[in-house]
């Protein structure tokens, strides 16, 4: 593939700094546009479908690490309109399988230096992450996870109810409740990051390298040749471009980063995925004084909660059972959420919910992603992000960029290939990812 030049001069983007803030505050000079509205091109070296954190990070690392800048990101709505702007912003690396732990840990490393790398405050709050155990079997899984984590150098351990109470006083650790807290998996490096800032940071940095970000551009078809199926699609063929609502683009490499919509794009190339799309709902309360210092997750109660810097409690749950592309909220969710969260924190009974929303999650059978090449040459996927893909954005972008640029699957994502399903070689993360975030 043509590589534009090994070292790309980054186009000057306004540098964000305290000095700049003060100067602009006094001079009333306005801030420059954060990214261009580029001309629609008819050929790109790489086309990325989906303007969420995964698509934008892939574009950024293609430019920054591999010097490939003739890249387009195609987004049918606005950047971050999918899961990337709807998630509850929790990051952690205390997964269950060695493959998962190594992968998510790399993402945390990239998150740690992101504010500097992208010159944007992503508000990383490394506040500690507690996964509560209410049953013996849950406690056993926590011990299992802690041991896998420790072996790989991850700060993760099982703590007793007294320690839980010390870390998070608002939790009810008494024994005479329906789901007593028997202990927790404690992961100090886990926390939250401002999800919008991550999207904007990658978008701004990719744009500065010359990547074209096309919003309101819907992909209607993936153009293929030589495949077994109709119109040259399907296994054995190769991708030649995409048809969009604004015209055709030719491209030898297309990356599907559409999360909840992944199956619709894959079917345009004649590829079937092990994915079903389910909504995940979340809700936020009115702001109150900060009292909840950690992220708290309860698998048995299907709920998790954290408090934002502004003081709102952010709640999430498990995905709705029915597959759908509709993003409406349900009363069942609110009822269940309220009763379960009060079980954990009886003290917040009089707080009011401010709003509730949903996003689409691309669920896989083993709660691990699907990454890398497909049976259609040049058509790559970075999908299957379920309810846990925000934290994986940076590492996925970095590894998918390497995969696309070098034409080789990097070691870190080799376990997550699509072919694992025909081999029957799944990477079971359910014990660490269902309601886990």
């Amino acid at each position: 593939m043509r590589q534009t030049s090994p070292v790309i001069k980054q186009r000057r983007a306004a540098k964000y700094s305290l000095g700049g803030l003060i100067r602009r505050g006094f001079s009333k000079e306005s801030w420059p546009r954060v990214w261009r509205e580029p001309e629609f091109g008819s050929h790109y070296d790489v086309v990325i479908i989906g303007g969420g954190v995964h698509g934008l990070a892939t574009a950024y690392y293609l430019a920054a690490n591999h010097g490939i800048t003739n890249v387009a990101v195609l987004e049918k709505g606005y950047l971050g309109s999918g899961g990337s702007g709807r998630n509850t912003a929790i990051v952690r690396s205390n997964y269950l399988t060695p493959e998962g732990v190594a992968f998510y840990d790399r993402s945390l490393t990239l998150y740690n230096s992101m504010a500097r790398d992208l010159n944007l405050n992503v508000m990383f709050s490394e506040r500690g992450h507690l996964t509560l155990a209410h049953t013996d079997s849950a406690l056993r899984t926590m011990h299992w996870r802690a041991e896998v984590n420790k072996l790989q150098g991850i700060n993760s351990s099982v703590i007793d109810p007294a320690e839980v109470k010390r870390l998070t006083p608002s939790l009810d650790v008494s024994e005479n409740v329906r789901y007593p807290i028997l202990g927790a998996l404690y992961h100090p490096p886990g926390g939250t990051i401002r999800h919008d800032a991550v999207v904007w940071g990658y978008a701004r940095a990719a744009d500065a390298y010359g990547v074209d970000l096309h919003q309101k551009t819907e992909v209607l078809d993936v153009l293929c040749t030589g495949g077994d199926g109709p119109e040259g699609k399907g296994p054995g063929g190769r991708v030649v471009g995409v048809r969009t609502s604004r015209g055709d683009i030719s491209a030898p490499l297309v990356v599907n980063c559409t999360a909840g919509w992944a199956s619709t794009i894959a079917s345009m190339a004649g590829v079937r995925l092990p994915i079903t799309t389910h909504p995940l709902q979340a809700a936020v309360t009115e702001p109150v004084k900060v009292f909840l210092p950690t992220v708290v997750v309860s698998g048995s109660l299907h709920v998790y909660v954290s408090q934002t810097d502004r003081g709102e409690l952010v709640f999430g749950a498990s995905v709705d059972p029915m597959a759908t592309y509709q993003m409406g909220g349900t009363l069942e969710f609110t009822e269940e959420l309220a009763s379960h969260v009060l079980e954990l924190m009886p003290g917040i009974g009089r707080m009011r919910l401010l709003r509730q929303w949903a996003g689409l999650c691309d669920m896989t059978p083993d709660y691990s992603p699907v990454m890398g090449p497909t049976p259609v040459e040049g058509f790559h996927v970075d999908v299957g992000w379920g309810t846990y893909g925000f934290k994986a954005g940076p590492v996925s972008g970095e590894q998918m960029a390497a995969c696309v640029a070098n034409g080789r699957v990097p070691e870190l994502i080799a376990p997550f290939g699509l072919e694992r399903f025909s081999r029957g070689d799944l990477v079971g993360e359910k014990g660490a990812a269902a309601v886990g975030h």
């Binding site: 199956s263 059972p321 759908t324 592309y325 025909s422």
Partner: protein
Amino acid sequence: MLLVPCPVCGPKNAAELTYRGETHSRPDPNQATPEEWRSYLYLRDNPAGWLREGWFCSSGCRTFFTLERNTTTGELREPLLPGNKVAGRPISDGTEP
């Protein structure tokens, strides 16, 4: 709220039923290759549009039944399986409503 028409109990809130997901005919386990069997197990069409799916009236009459639902609009229609009857009504003629 989605009202799901159980063939025995009539319309019920979807939350009262168990969702069984996309239905496909099962390959013969004695004939299928491991790859065919695993695609049956794992791969899904997951369409944005009409989907044929299974439901179980788990907290009611405990009937298993099949429906077609549009996953972008929420509309429901009777399945087009040959000879199938939902709540005693004949199946529709297969044209898109």
